[in-house]
């Protein structure tokens, strides 16, 4: 459950690359290679023993980038092996194709968010027939015995088998302020105004809600957002007031709350 909210700053290699190439408007060769490799290594560490196939893929992409960049740094190399060159271009085309697919679905995701935000403003009638029709209503508990209720309770409260290796890193909840910031600067300019309750409705872990709150305070401190609370214990309204929509996380200096 907690998984999709502990989003790392970049959701994997494509995301990172897209960010570097498109949002930062730089070409890949002007970016610190070390940063890319670091980010990859972090990703790989995060996914440790989780999915070899994916980890391998990270490495392949990283290697391609290293190779591409190495060429830029070695101008005028004459002794290029043609086969090697072609293989590299093939790899590059593949990477380009996948980046395009990834960016396509990122855009669709934004449209989905807009559709869902609109749909969320409508509340369906779900009252059902009134008591005049009670006798006609099929009895949903037909055949249900106390032991079934007992079994259902056990099912509901049993620790969920999570095919995650988090058990090995006992107690480490992967939520930190910079991750939360990254999500917020992507999301808030889009929605403009939202209540804190709604913003965190998705989160189950208390720590994640707290981290989200700290990230908001950070944004507030730096003048990106306005916070309003009408009454004690009332909803906190969050309003994005910064002009820039493309605020980069790196631009926001944050206090280190971790550890």
């Amino acid at each position: 459950m907690a998984v999709d909210v502990t989003t790392p700053v970049f959701e994997g290699p494509f995301d990172l690359l897209l960010h570097l190439i498109l949002k930062e408007q730089v070409d890949i060769y002007e970016v610190h290679l070390a940063n890319i490799v670091d980010a990859y290594l972090t990703e790989i560490e995060r996914m440790q023993s989780l999915d070899l196939e994916l980890a391998t893929e990270f490495l392949l992409i990283a290697a391609t980038l290293v190779e591409l960049k190495a060429r830029r740094l070695l101008p005028g190399r004459e002794d290029v092996d043609l086969d090697e060159e072609l293989a590299l271009w093939e790899e590059r085309d593949l990477l380009l194709a996948r980046l395009l697919e990834c960016t396509t679905f990122k855009d669709v995701g934004r449209v989905f968010a807009a559709l869902a935000d609109d749909a969320d403003r409508c509340y369906a009638r779900a009252c059902g027939p009134d008591e005049r029709f009670a006798e006609l209503m099929p009895d949903l508990l037909e055949g249900v015995k106390p032991r079934h209720v007992h079994a259902a309770y056990l099912r509901a409260t049993a620790p969920k088998p999570e095919p995650k290796v988090d058990l090995f890193h006992v107690g480490v909840i992967k939520a930190n302020v910079s991750d939360a910031l990254a999500e917020l600067v992507d999301e808030l300019p889009r929605v403009r105004r939202i209540t804190f309750r709604r913003l965190t409705a998705d989160l189950v872990d208390r720590l994640e809600i707290i981290v989200r709150f700290l990230a908001l305070l950070e944004l507030y401190k730096q003048g990106f957002i306005e916070l309003e609370q009408g009454q004690k214990f009332g909803d906190i309204d969050i309003v994005w007031i910064a002009d820039q929509t493309g605020v980069s996380v790196g631009a926001i200096a944050i206090d280190d709350y971790e550890g």
Partner: protein, 203 residues
């Protein structure tokens, strides 16, 4: 008060009454709409008359201390046919689990249920309430005053027990064999046979 303003208040009235699952007292409507009770009372009763006049298949009626939408008595045969033909007749697994949580942990708030089940329980709670298996049994005295849920006498009756104490006791949980296996499975590195070839990228 201008007609313009009234029209907006009437729209809000319609929206609130549409989602209400039980009759809404005029006082509460007045409070939400920030209008005098008398005005809201007046608007409700004209709205009810307007519906009747227009010949809708639904009515707005004053009942049990509040207003609610209900079907027009003349439409009862259609409603009955719909209930008999069109309604699901089994509780989903998710609904039964939620019902079980309410039964064992009552009184319990929506957010407590959400944190046990890990998902938003609103839809399921509505279904269970509309079937009369659970009901609101009070409010949390703490900040936020969350609605607390509990099971109804009808629930006990359907299960053939006298009190929730007659449900099988919950002992300290020991994971079943299937859960243990699933947990183990999750920790195991994937077998080669589990891994598919990645899909060819599409441009």
């Amino acid at each position: 008060m201008s007609t313009q303003v009234d029209a907006e208040v009437v729209r809000a009235l319609e929206a609130i009454l549409l989602v209400a699952t039980e009759p809404v007292p005029v006082d509460l409507l007045a409070q939400i709409l920030e209008k005098p009770t008398k005005v809201v009372e007046q608007l409700c009763s004209s709205l009810a008359a307007a519906y009747e006049e227009a010949g809708h298949g639904f009515q707005l009626v004053q009942i049990a201390g509040g207003y609610r939408y209900q079907t027009h008595p003349e439409m009862a045969p259609y409603v009955e046919r719909f209930i008999l033909d069109g309604q699901k007749s089994r509780l989903s697994g998710a609904a039964l689990e939620t019902l079980a949580i309410v039964a064992y942990k009552q009184p319990i708030s929506r957010s407590q249920i959400a944190s046990i089940r890990g998902v938003d329980p609103d839809g399921v709670l509505r279904t269970l309430q509309s079937r009369g298996y659970i009901d609101q049994v009070g409010r949390d005295p703490g900040p936020g005053q969350a609605v607390m849920w509990g099971t109804t006498p009808a629930f006990l009756e359907k299960l053939g027990i006298n009190s929730v104490n007659d449900l099988p006791a919950i002992v300290d949980f020991v994971p079943g064999a299937d859960v243990v296996e699933a947990l183990e499975q999750g920790l195991r590195a994937p077998k080669a046979s589990d891994i598919e070839a990645p899909a060819p990228p599409e441009a």
